[in-house]
Chain length 335, copies 2
Amino acid sequence: MTLTMNLGPRSYDIIVKRGVLQESGTLLNLDRKCLIVTDAGVPKQYAEAVAAQCRAPVIVTVGIGEGSKSFPVYETLCRKLLEQDFHRSDCVVAVGGGVVGDLAGFAAASFMRGMDFYNIPTTVLSQVDSSIGGKVAINLDGVKNIVGAFWQPKRVLIDPDTLHTLEPRQISNGLAEAIKMACTSDAELFQFLEQNDPLENIEHVIIGSLQIKKSVVEQDETEQGLRKLLNFGHTIGHGIESTGKLLHGECVGLGMLPMCSEAVRKRLLAVLKKAGLPTTVSFDREAVWQAMQHDKKFSAGMADIVTVDEIGAGKIERVTMEALKARFDSAYMEG
Amino acid sequence: MTLTMNLGPRSYDIIVKRGVLQESGTLLNLDRKCLIVTDAGVPKQYAEAVAAQCRAPVIVTVGIGEGSKSFPVYETLCRKLLEQDFHRSDCVVAVGGGVVGDLAGFAAASFMRGMDFYNIPTTVLSQVDSSIGGKVAINLDGVKNIVGAFWQPKRVLIDPDTLHTLEPRQISNGLAEAIKMACTSDAELFQFLEQNDPLENIEHVIIGSLQIKKSVVEQDETEQGLRKLLNFGHTIGHGIESTGKLLHGECVGLGMLPMCSEAVRKRLLAVLKKAGLPTTVSFDREAVWQAMQHDKKFSAGMADIVTVDEIGAGKIERVTMEALKARFDSAYMEG
């Protein structure tokens, strides 16, 4: 199945197909220098399978986890591109999860002021969400995605077969983003998640999520308005994530709960539990509240938050920091 | 005088006016947090004059020279923005020459994936050339502008009064870029430079140069084709610059000479000398040739070079590396 992201001159195709990794040589232009970025947690054979289809591949394996979305690792990638004589007509290929895509994408966005970028996501989280939409970034001093760019890939290949090698916790982690999008934008997909096993229907969940994200990004590529919907659960979620205890999707799941009406929360709790996601957490509330202050959606003492009072009908609301604090304080009283 | 750069949603005004520095508070939106970036070589009173017109200014003074266009200094700027709680609705203001504009502009382009950027150039070189057009970048391992973005300023203020504090060598350095643009694109301006003292007519030279650059950038914002014209003199020039002996404009002046017809070279030599620019140089030819290899206009063994066989009629030519080497080897035999 092919979805097209319609963004004028920056349009691109997203190809979802079992085994598509083996077709990258025909679906992507790899007849040039290709910097393949992967991480130590991704099975080596994925990057190697892509490399085997490139004319001049260079594989870089970064450390696993958010720690690689750093200035030093970003500089290392740029230096590698320089040392290996890459030019702006060459390309960068990310093979891995969201960390690899964000990091490699920012190197592609900025080396020689921009090169072609392909994304081959191999986790549920990146397949349903982070591999499309063009947000690339690194972290700084514990603040996520604070330095980056909007840089759309030239094509995205999604191979659900790569999910077989994932731990169950990583699968749950990714499902959180699918649940998030269903909750704000697609009552039908939400109902599907309530009534079916998401794992047995992973392709349906991936495609449903991509369709929501595609529609939102097409309407608001650079997050001037509507795209903020995709941040549902992320305001408090990023705060919890800064404690380093939980995975990104787990934090997003927790971050959604204080942003819902009573009725929505009840249904959401059931879906989160079914997906193997935590619904309670203990943390240092003051430290998390502090960590939340650098959010890109805050300014002049106001916060843009996303709330869901009815499944499929998420809203962006501008609230005072006090109102946000009240939601934050009310959270995680549920069992 | 106001020139408008017409780039659709990224359009902006360039205001050229003596004393305009003192009007920045009314001409720019400084009623927010403003990171003012300047360098140790720029008279302090310029950044302070702008700061006095901001609601919440933070001045950062970086070291003088190309050394500041580095990963560590870029990271320092991003950290300063983070520590001082800047948001994407705040702004960055460059007050200084090309180094400050390139560095501050890249921080503005990437912090929170992009903030408003204002440029207030205070050198001839940045006033005639680098402050407009949206190319921002840092250097890596001695290779110039290898990591960066296309990020247009929201407005540019050009105050020719700031040029009074410049050394004569810095003025000549800037005139080289004006001569470059006249040579490729404006026979009338070239003739003006032949017949008049450029210093006594600096506003005329600035405006003439900006008009050429505006026209080129409007037609080709991201350097797909025509904009390469502006690289006249830069291919060999950047190579010579890597030796660290000469200023950017001096190298560009030298870099133009092997790219002209005999007749053009004769006229160009006279104009360069009159502007106080060198026309001969000694350097390690092998080292410079090596340094030239990372040029963004090279790929697959071919180089896009700019040649001028007739004043005002620059051409972009794709040549083999051997052909470029022949031009390089022939250079600087003139006295």
